[in-house]
């Protein structure tokens, strides 16, 4: 029967070429727009580390003074930025499987070959556990140890693209790189690593999407050599030369727990630490937030409003296209009342007629899906030329390809329900009487 319905549908399309073309075009536009915006949204709100994100947590504490404090309403004002002293205290407490403190900076890199100008590279100042915690893959060498951190050793880990630029992609472990006019020894080179979004950079002043960071340096070494963090906020007048002891926040703290169920215990530890600081007179607000990676991204509202707005707009447009398709399908079906009457008179049940018209709308859906795919590719091409950080990553992958056809089919089947029902309730007798 299915093959017969397909045949009937094709004949009907051939007879109503213009109407079918309008339907497919409208549906294609709606689907194209929806898939384009959905791809971008999926790119922006995806899980950057799906294998570990449930076990990675960041802490937020509120170092502000008591003035202006409203219990229950005041929240840590600078996301997960915290003062240096507290981040170091938490780091040294070693209460979790792994923990790291980090800040972003701009590293002035002077290439060894003379005649080449110095340039700035995005850099991360962090502690030893960073690489293992975030599963950063190494091409050559490895990260540094906790001892290197304390000794303020001048070591650096390069990203793959920076290694390509400076050393031609060769194994540069042991080579010297000049950063901020000081010599640093390369001890590791990362493979291409750019988690989308750069969750560790959120709040630290960097871009949330796009290329990864170029060079990774031990925090104490970088600070000693005068590298300033990219985002510093102070709640009282501060001495910028001595940020570590000033009333300022500029580092963030991340931990990896053995399992997600250990979060409650760590949160208790964090609260106790803050209470201890309150009793010492350093802090005045007991609120703490201990959020896992995805929750933190949601709290920080990393996904740009524009992307969400565009997605809702596209689905609204798809809705209009579906309503349009309903109307046109209805027109097409009702024109064939006599044909339906003949089929019913010959013994077709209502269900059979219903099935016939559903198959027809399904076919419109598939055609609309193919056209929608073409429009989506065009749309993503246009987005790749948009001035956004994530622009170059907007590509259609296999799951979105499948999603296109699923959405197209569902949309057309929903659109086909009303016309198919109207068609199957046509009474056969009056249709046969009119000539």
């Amino acid at each position: 029967m299915f093959g017969y319905y397909l045949d009937l549908a094709l004949r009907s399309f051939k007879r109503n070429r213009v109407l079918t073309a309008l339907m497919v075009l409208a549906l294609g536009l709606g689907i194209g727009a929806s898939i384009t915006t959905l791809t971008v949204l999926k790119l922006l709100s995806g899980d950057p580390l799906p294998q570990k994100s449930a076990r990675l947590f960041t802490a937020e504490i509120d170092p502000l003074p008591a003035q202006g404090y409203v219990p229950g309403q005041s929240k840590p004002p600078w996301g997960n930025l915290m003062p240096y002293t507290d981040a170091m205290n938490l780091l040294q407490a070693h209460r979790a499987e792994r923990q790291a403190v980090m800040a972003l900076t701009q590293a002035k890199v002077t290439p060894a070959s003379t005649g080449e100008h110095p340039f700035f590279s995005d850099a991360v100042m962090t502690t030893a556990d960073f690489f293992a915690m975030f599963d950063a893959p190494f091409e050559y060498g490895s990260g540094w140890s906790a001892q290197n951190d304390d000794e303020r050793a001048r070591v650096a880990v390069l990203a793959g693209f920076l290694n390509d630029k400076l050393f031609g992609g060769k194994n540069s472990v042991g080579q010297v790189i000049r950063i901020n006019d000081k010599d640093y020894r390369v001890i590791g080179v990362l493979k291409d690593w750019a988690p989308q979004p750069r969750f560790y950079a959120v709040g630290l002043g960097g871009r949330s999407y796009g290329n990864g960071d170029g060079v990774f340096l031990p925090l104490k070494s970088a600070r000693t050599d005068g590298m300033d963090p990219q985002n510093v906020s102070c709640w009282q007048t501060a001495d910028i030369q001595h940020l570590e002891t000033s009333p300022c926040v500029f580092v963030s703290f991340w931990t990896e727990l053995k399992s997600a169920s250990d979060a409650a215990a760590y949160r208790t530890f964090l609260s106790n630490y803050v209470q201890q600081q309150i009793s010492l007179g350093r802090f005045h607000r007991p609120e703490v937030v201990f959020a896992d990676l995805m929750k933190f991204l949601a709290l920080e509202q990393v996904v740009p409003d524009d992307a969400r707005l565009q997605t809702n707009l596209a689905f609204g447009f798809l809705l209009i296209c579906i309503v349009n398709t309903v109307g046109l399908l209805l027109a097409k079906c009702l024109r064939r009342s006599r044909e339906i009457g003949v089929r019913r008179a010959l013994g077709a049940t209502r269900a059979a007629v219903f099935a016939q018209f559903m198959v027809e709308s399904g076919m419109v859906g598939i055609a609309g899906g193919v056209l929608g795919l073409i429009f989506a590719e065009l749309g993503l091409w246009a987005i790749r030329h948009q001035p956004a950080q994530y622009a170059s990553l907007a590509r259609l992958d296999v799951s979105m390809f499948v999603t296109t056809f699923v959405i197209a089919l569902v949309a057309s089947l929903i659109a086909g329900l009303l016309p198919a029902w109207r068609a199957c309730v046509v009474a056969p007798a009056p249709q046969l009487k009119s000539v």
Binding site: H117, N180, T237, F317, N324, Q386
Partner: protein, 404 residues
């Protein structure tokens, strides 16, 4: 034109009528909101920076040794002045649409209790206000002894120019000249008011604070170095900027030129509003596609109707209706359906706007946008139904005499 027969005819085709009305309603809702969003983005892009954008360029150097700063300033300023076409070179901390250089929370009292917001400060060396092209509306420009040396990012106590909007905010209705404000230990006294001076990183959400700025006169030194304002003739400006960036390799080889951030102010402004332009373009595309799809729908359904009612049209023509009568019948019928749709659409438009306000912090839709959507859709409906209606009017009366 009798409305009653049209209405009773429509009652027989409730479903198709409802569909067209629903489509028009959705189109109206999306159209009104999209137009408003576009208008919002466009008005944000028209901010008055208060400076002579066509004559000014910004050059930023980084990565130099702070102890060499004064020497660097002297070398760079001398080197830039030597470029033909340059009218003046000044040391300034940033420019409108440039990097954010100094935003400070200010209070009206020294004790720091009366907090009044976070304006942005421009700090420049002697002659900068004139080079920027600031328009003075009250008070006086800074004189030579107002330019003081400083050890942190502003002098301890300075005499400043403030933008009119900031003066209105801090001392509404009063004369701002001679008034003072503080930021922690730093003291500022107002000596002049300028018409406009936009902040560096303008954010639509903080639109009311877009002109909260002050100009602080200072002497260049270790704290004010590496960022320069170049003034040149508008025709020469592009060439001057290229030559300036190239000259830095010779004049300051140890410093890094911020290639992306060193541009003419007009270029900085274009780049700053790129995303707004893209969003506005996208919305225009959506509106066009939307109107196109709605028009398709109306054409399709109207054609179907005309085909279905051929016999009736033939009978009317046989009874004496002219072609114009038939045409007018279909136009009126379409007008009525579109009106039903628009009534529903206005309700939907307001509803969608409330949802946008809640989830995307978009401002409330002003009511005079609704007539725009209404008129556009009436026009669209009438144009879309024209072709099927003309085909209906062409039905010859002889159809009435034939059966089927």
């Amino acid at each position: 034109m009798q409305i009653q027969p049209i209405l009773s005819a429509l009652k027989k085709h409730r479903l198709a009528t409802a569909l067209i009305a629903l489509e028009i309603a959705l189109a109206c809702a999306v159209l009104c909101n999209a137009c408003y969003l576009i208008a919002g983005r466009l008005s944000a892009m028209r901010i008055n920076s208060g400076v002579d954008e066509t004559s000014l360029g910004f050059l930023a150097l980084q990565g130099f040794d702070a102890s060499q700063a004064s020497d660097l300033n002297a070398r760079v300023v001398a080197g830039l002045r030597a470029i033909p076409g340059v009218e003046s070179v000044h040391v300034i901390n940033s420019v409108p649409f440039g990097p954010q250089a100094g935003a400070v929370g200010i209070t009206l009292d020294q004790a720091g209790k009366q907090f009044r917001g976070v304006p942005e400060l421009y700090v420049g060396d002697p002659g900068t206000p004139k080079a920027l092209g600031l328009q003075l509306v009250a008070g006086r420009m800074p004189t030579a002894d107002d330019y003081q040396p400083m050890t942190t990012f502003v002098p301890a106590s300075s005499r400043v120019l403030i933008a009119r909007a900031l003066a209105e905010h801090l001392w509404p209705g009063q004369d701002p000249l001679g008034k003072e404000f503080w930021s922690g230990p730093f003291h500022f006294r107002v000596i002049g008011v300028v018409a406009n001076l936009a902040i560096q990183q303008y954010d639509e959400e903080g639109e009311h604070g877009a002109q909260w700025t002050a100009f602080v006169p200072a002497q260049p030194g270790p704290q004010l170095a590496g960022t320069y304002l170049i003034r040149a003739n508008p025709q020469d400006l592009d060439r001057v900027m290229t030559e300036a960036k190239a000259a830095m390799a010779r004049i300051a080889p140890d410093a890094v030129v911020d290639q992306e951030g060193s541009q003419t102010i007009r270029e900085l402004r274009q780049r700053f509003f790129k995303t707004d332009r893209a969003m506005a373009g996208l919305l225009v595309g959506v509106i066009v596609a939307l109107l196109g799809v709605t028009a398709f729908g109306i054409v399709g359904l109207a054609s179907f109707w005309v085909a279905q009612r051929r016999k009736q049209i033939g009978i009317r023509r046989a009874l004496g209706a002219t072609r114009a009568d038939i045409l007018r019948y279909f136009q009126t019928e379409n007008f009525l359906i579109v009106t039903f749709g628009i009534v529903l659409g206005i309700v939907l438009a307001i509803g969608i706007n409330l949802a946008l306000m809640k989830f995307f912090e978009v401002p409330r839709l002003p009511l005079w946008y609704l007539p725009i959507g209404v008129l556009a859709l009436w026009l669209l409906g009438q144009l879309a139904v024209l072709v099927p209606a003309l085909r209906a009017a062409a039905v010859p009366p002889v159809v009435a005499t034939r059966s089927a």
